[in-house]
């Protein structure tokens, strides 16, 4: 063993954090347009099962990724319809989406002539895609060049969405819609269209995050490979204060917290394992408490119109 514990923990953090990066950035995009979507868990599960299903049939991982994104986006349309067109409570609609998505995933996993449940995935995202010479470099090799394709995709997603939100005109439009839809509309922006699009992008990214579980982290199907990741992503949006780059670090921090509970045990550090297992959740709760108390949430960048149905006629 010439790799240090720290290195291995960082590698694990990146692996375990990647699906949460996708889902968190997706939720940031939706929330930046003013729509709170608590259906992340449902969208991730639908993406996970859709991606697993097509990969199981075709052994093609990229088809799995594509279908996972389509499935996540398709499910999110229900939420967009509820919250943008029907203007119902976004909280209730989002929760219903999670319940529905969970049911769909369980159902699809058991349907068909060969049920997916209990089956391993015939193909797995676990191979570094860059030349081995690069990955063999000390320290930066594994950290930067030693990952599978979806990790690099997640970095691209973070960079692109951050640039999009904060350095482009369409991104400014999205933020305007999330801050003050009435003014945005007065400036000629189609609020509904912007919100539909970003809820769907959020759904596609959540679906992709789900597929990372079923095609990379736990490449088999057993009702729920995702664990509570969807809920974590929603909490991390706040921890990341609605900024994609911070979402990347927050997700990795969460990934590291998950691994640390096991690493400590192998190192013989005498902290009860059950306590360590709680660490990621305590971290998330603390972050939310600290960051959202009082007026700080506003200051952090919570979109002003987040979660508020927009009625044109009530302006």
């Amino acid at each position: 063993m010439n790799e240090s514990v720290l290195m291995l923990t960082i590698m694990a953090a990146i692996g375990l954090g990647t699906p949460i990066v996708f889902a968190t950035v997706g939720e940031i995009l939706a929330e930046r347009s003013g729509i709170l979507n608590l259906g992340v868990q449902g969208m991730m599960l639908v993406g996970a099962v859709a991606g697993f299903w097509i990969t199981f049939q075709t052994e093609n991982l990229w088809l799995g990724v594509l279908l996972a994104m389509i499935a996540g986006a398709a499910l999110s349309v229900i939420h967009a319809f509820n919250s943008v067109t029907l203007r119902v409570s976004q909280i209730v609609s989002g929760l219903a989406l999670t319940i529905f998505g969970t049911g769909v995933a369980v159902f699809v996993g058991r349907a068909g002539d060969i049920p997916l449940i209990g089956e391993p995935s015939p193909a797995v995202f676990n191979k570094p895609i860059l030349p081995e010479a690069l990955a063999d470099l000390p320290i930066v090799g594994p950290l930067i060049f030693g990952h599978d394709a979806l990790v690099y995709l997640s970095w691209i997603v973070v960079a692109v969405s951050s640039f999009y939100l904060f350095h482009t005109r369409p991104g400014l439009t999205v933020r305007a819609v999330g801050e003050d839809p009435a003014s945005a509309e007065a400036a000629g922006i189609d609020v509904s269209r912007i919100r539909y699009i970003h809820v769907m992008i959020g759904g596609a990214l959540a679906g992709l995050g789900g597929a990372y579980f079923s095609l990379a982290l736990v490449p088999s199907w057993l009702d729920n490979p995702v664990g509570p990741a969807g809920w974590i992503a929603i909490a991390l949006v706040i921890l990341a204060s609605w900024r994609p780059w911070r979402a990347l670090w927050a997700a990795y921090l969460f990934g590291a917290a998950g691994r640390v509970s096991f690493t400590f045990q192998t190192l013989g550090i005498a902290i009860p394992a059950s306590l360590l297992a709680m660490l990621p959740f305590i971290l998330a709760i603390l972050a939310m408490l600290v960051l959202t108390s009082g007026k700080r949430a506003r200051f952090l960048g919570a979109p002003a119109a987040l979660g508020i149905p927009y009625f044109r006629e009530e302006r």
Partner: protein, 359 residues
């Protein structure tokens, strides 16, 4: 107007959700006939887990195939805890005369349900409580664990074996200790590093715990939980894998060594026949290799012929009663000899285990 839309949308979503949930369950309708003998099984995980619940479901299928006129209802993924009492009572009210609950956490809820339905027979796996109409059953997995440890002891080159453990309860500690004794019969220098996950079925966590052990230098992974995730991580790392519950070799064709496995079918059949005949008594059943309840799975490609023969010999000795898995006195983790005591209350690790037996 907004409210009307709101109500409509929520109603729609709920209907869809219920529809999906209904599709997902495989609880057949209950047509009541006096002739049929209704038996129910309640499992903590999906019966397709290829692990614990799957093994019990195989037992249920054996019962169904061998007992004419039996009607079996299977409920899967039922959470442990207070709400499971409602599940047991629903099944009792539905005309099931015999109800099996196959997870430790069902114990108290089942006891409460048994009190409310004195005419129904309840049988609980892995617990320790009984009443007039509730029995319990389990088996000596440690016998299979010991044998699987022998295969692991042969395989390891780093002399570090990782053990992904569930909860620090006697059942799990017995498994770890028996496994370690088997490992060290073959390889006295090998040690077994335990990592607790506090889960029975969470593939992400269990896989990651295995990865942490592999990162720490383990070249064989053993496990207690109901998912094959640790085996997939071991396979990807080129390490060996000792599974549990069932033959899971398809998840790691190269790394697979063997596993302690269950055969619950004959027990389910004799229990059902006793209940039907009215001869059933509430008792504590602890099955052994000699009864066929516990066995060892097929061997993977890296287990040598000599080792397979040695394991078979040891297996026969266990069946004949000439070899005891746990010696008495026994040497504990600190190298101190102590009386074995009651194995159903086991709360210590044997020599060679690294980690804390208290989680």
């Amino acid at each position: 107007m907004a409210r009307k839309r709101w109500t409509f949308a929520i109603a729609l979503m709920l209907v869809l959700a219920l529809f999906a949930a209904a599709c997902g369950s495989d609880d057949g309708g209950s047509s009541s006939g006096d002739e049929e003998f209704k038996i129910a099984f309640v499992h903590v995980g999906p019966t397709a887990d290829k692990g614990w619940s799957w093994a019990h479901d195989q037992g249920a299928k054996y019962l169904e195939a061998n007992m004419p006129g039996v009607k079996i209802t299977t409920l899967e993924s039922i959470d442990e805890g207070p709400d499971s009492q409602r599940v047991f009572e629903d099944l009792a009210a539905d005309g099931n005369t015999l109800i099996f609950g196959t997870s430790f956490g069902y114990m108290d809820p089942m006891l409460a349900a048994a009190e409310n339905f004195p005419d129904v027979t309840f049988v609980h796996a892995t617990g320790y409580k009984t009443s007039d109409n509730m029995g319990n059953y389990f088996g000596a997995a440690e016998e299979g664990r010991y044998l699987s440890g022998m295969a692991a002891g042969e395989r390891t080159e780093t002399n570090l074996i990782g053990y992904v453990a569930a909860f620090p309860i006697p059942e799990v500690l017995r498994g770890i200790n028996a496994f370690t004794l088997g490992v060290r019969e073959i390889n006295p220098d090998a040690e077994v590093q335990v990592v607790w996950t506090s889960t029975w079925l969470d593939p992400t966590k269990e896989g990651d715990a295995a990865q942490a052990l592999l990162d720490a230098g383990a070249d064989v992974i053993a496990m207690h939980q109901d998912t094959p995730a640790p085996g997939q991580k071991a396979e990807a790392a080129g390490a060996g894998w000792v599974g549990y519950n069932t033959d899971m070799s398809e998840f790691a064709p190269n790394g697979w060594l063997t596993a302690a496995i269950w055969d619950w079918g004959p027990f389910y059949l004799t229990t059902a026949e006793a209940v039907k005949a009215g001869t059933w008594k509430p008792e504590v059943v602890y099955g052994h290799m000699a009864d066929g309840m516990v066995d060892i799975a097929s061997f993977g490609p890296s287990v040598s012929d000599e080792m397979q023969a040695l394991i078979e010999t040891r297996k026969q000795e266990i069946i004949d009663g000439t070899f005891a898995v746990f010696p008495d006195p026994i040497v504990n983790q600190d190298g101190v000899e102590q009386p074995l005591g009651d194995i159903f209350g086991m709360d210590f690790f044997v020599e060679g285990v690294i980690g804390s037996p208290k989680s």
